[in-house]
Symmetry: C2
């Protein structure tokens, strides 16, 4: 077996967030560890939303409950509410965190997730509709696997998009129908444009089965308005599209006066729950908790789902046995956190508020630095963890790239890495309007480090511009 005889879909799939630039970054990091002389003394991974790796501390409550469940005899070390919750979990999780659970996840943990969803939306959630998953990715894979029968089955995705969707569509052999977010209007979504894209795709013989909405946006950080969400939900009802709502950044909203509304609440508010099948994703990896390595999350299926389709998703979950139990436990705590009056409540709120306030400051620091650069404009991030600046490259640089057969944004990010150690993802990894260039960077380095990142980025960009002027 060799490269010629590999399944072509695997060869074609791309996932830039962990692509060649990241592989190169790891090699540079190893070179530094061996004592190599490079123009920088550390590699800073801004390619991926991975807060703990950049120094963010875990939320104490989650970790205390986890430790108390995993290991006997620690009760004396923890506040009473931690012990009480851990004991409740030990009673209700048969066999504890070392046992396979139901394939959808432990029922009592799904009940806690349902409590959180109900509180968030004001509409009662049913634990039976909830699949606990290893991160949000697993839910996406289940849906794509069930939906895609061949190249003519298509799913609409925003451009730019989080490349899990494009990668999964390629792996399962389907087609991505793009709809472009409007950068000039802070990456908002234009439903008339979405409709046009649907009509065009259908005219080309595509069987468009679903639409993905990412809110808050990744990589764009845009928060969609309630009106916009209602338009999309209505559009799905009218066109018979399954609605996939990626809401993993729902607790990362920084813009003054804006707040997150779930697509689920929109569907119920608009009375569309009998006409739309909605899948919503959430994850322990994002929010203020950033428990990426835990691989926790959930997918909720509400509205007009066909029972055979749900059974098929259930079968895929069964073949994967079950999501990891520690991830399930953290997901349940994310959705059902400590309550006012409980001993852990005050510390929990302080940790949460400090992290979110710091993220907001860091987003402003980085966004301002980017907007000050020549040829760079960066929409303010309403939410999520990223800046996605637009780069207008000098013509001389564009000519040079064309000559050398290089993709301009990939080349820019590669040079940025080699000269500063800062790891970013080229806009082409997410998709972008033809003729525009971007990169995605997290604003996750610590408050101390983010200023250094801003300075290094500025210096790099200035000398880049000077070189090509």
């Amino acid at each position: 077996m060799n490269g010629e005889t590999i399944n072509r879909a695997v060869v074609a799939a791309e996932y830039a967030v962990r692509g060649p630039i990241v592989v190169q970054a790891r090699q540079l990091e190893k070179a530094l560890e061996r004592g190599a002389e490079l123009p920088f003394d550390k590699v800073v991974y801004c390619n991926i939303g991975n807060p703990h790796q950049l120094g963010q501390k875990p939320v104490s409550y989650y970790r205390q409950v986890l430790a108390a469940i995993d290991c006997e005899g620690l009760d004396g070390a923890f506040p009473a509410d931690v012990v009480a919750r851990a004991n409740e979990y030990k009673r209700s999780i048969k066999g504890g965190t070392g046992a396979y659970s139901e394939s959808k996840g432990v029922e009592t943990l799904r009940q806690r997730v349902a409590v959180g969803i109900t509180k968030r939306d004001g509409y009662a959630a049913n634990p039976d509709d909830i699949f606990l998953t290893d991160g949000a990715s697993a839910g996406c894979h289940y849906l794509m696997n069930v939906l895609i029968r061949g190249i003519d089955d298509a799913v609409m995705c925003p451009i730019p998009q989080y490349p899990l969707y494009s990668a999964a569509l390629t792996l399962y052999g389907g087609t991505l129908v793009p709809y472009y977010l409007d950068e000039d209007r802070a990456w908002s979504l234009n439903v008339d444009h979405v409709k046009k894209q649907l009509v065009d795709a259908r005219a080309e013989g595509k069987n468009v089965r679903a639409i993905v909405v990412i809110n808050p946006g990744n990589p764009t950080g845009n928060l969609l308005s309630d009106e916009n969400l209602t338009e999309i939900a209505t559009f799905c009802a009218d066109e018979g599209l399954l609605l996939i709502s990626d809401e993993v950044y729902q607790e990362n909203v920084y813009a003054e006066g804006k707040k997150f509304t779930s697509m689920r609440k929109i569907v119920f508010d608009a009375g569309l729950e009998k006409r739309v099948a909605l899948a919503s994703f959430h994850s322990t990896s994002k929010g203020f908790y950033g428990e990426c390595g835990r691989r926790g999350g959930y997918m909720e299926l509400v509205g007009a789902w066909d029972s055979d389709v749900v059974a098929a998703i259930m079968k895929l979950a069964s073949i994967a046995l079950c999501p990891n139990l520690a991830g399930q436990v953290v997901t349940s705590m994310v959705m059902d956190p400590p309550k006012e009056g409980e001993p852990s409540y005050e510390l929990f709120c302080k940790e949460r508020d400090d992290i979110l306030a710091s993220l907001k400051r860091r987003s402003i620091t980085l966004g301002s630095a980017l907007n000050a650069l020549e040829g760079v404009t960066c929409q303010p991030a309403d939410g999520a963890m990223y800046c996605f600046p637009n780069l207008v490259f000098p013509q001389k640089y564009m000519d040079e790239c064309k000559e050398a057969n290089k993709i301009p944004d990939v080349e820019y990010c590669t040079r940025l890495l080699n000269q500063t150690g800062i790891v970013t993802v080229p806009g082409s990894g997410f998709g972008q309007k033809p003729g525009t260039w971007h990169f995605r960077t997290t604003f996750l380095p610590s408050e101390e480090d983010i200023k250094g990142v801003a300075v290094k980025l500025t210096d790099f960009h200035n000398s880049f511009i000077a070189q090509y002027k």
Copy 2:
């Protein structure tokens, strides 16, 4: 979207270990919780190797290290070697268990896995060859996804087999070429028969790309001899087949005088490492530890792998981001356990030996009870966690099943569940020689419970036989 328009491969996939009988069992359990009157007072899940759920206690050392890593401030609660290992992990895992790691897993944890493999086989392992995975299943999915381009790509699997392989092959749209294990010779593997099956499949136009070997066997519990393993490895070298060795039960060997040899050692002993590409699976879910809910494991790729193929597998791992960190940590401890002289060593050995000795006693208890039943023969389990008895059903029962269009072993297991609460998996879920009938049951219920299971099984079977005599 409805049942008619689901991807047919998902509809066709079957995974009996979590199939309809298990769904029914959960409904019965819920009925009991609601106070329903049933012929039994609890449901006993013997369908799946899930030791903790049936009361096995976790290994203390693993859990102490996990807790010390996850939660600050607990050092005083643990022995010095636990604290030392936890501190070493905290230093070397960037961002700890809450951070995404490299997609193959944390390098220092892979180094520990390599230490264990080297010690086991006497041939040095390379951490770069090791992919840490969420259980063993993820590795299987990566391989099948890379291998299978369409229905004419085929993988040879033992029959009976663990249905992950058949399910994955169906999902990726390939073909399973069976080779039958020889029940009369304690489920041994006949290489001449394997060759014949290969020749026949090729004659039918199948592109046979790989062979799966499960050792110790699942569901059969058979341990393959070194001679047998060498024959298979040579066969793969001669025929250009990729060799997939599922060794998740490598620490579950009970037969006097027998011991597990890895396929990796066989390949090196026979000097075949330049001629065979071998993928080996291991898991934290089995062994004496039984950390199923942790979803930990590894896949090691050694021998004649093409670098493009390895790169494609790496890309799939990247799209999944990374395996959960707690699972990675436990995998590293499974392969690099406490050492003689360390404070935790004695307790660790006692827990390990007690669990393994008890499993051996339980396998004998259940095996003897099964062999005493009319029309039932059960090969002794050399290893693994299962009995897979052969059932010769009365003709009257067979006629009744034919009349009612029921599959005899499925019907038998369904009745067993409804009358006793014991959950087993029909042999047809694993594949079996046409005209033979089996079921798989774990021998994992506690020493106290296993006797009750044996009595209930005996009573059920006796009245079943009496009914149809």
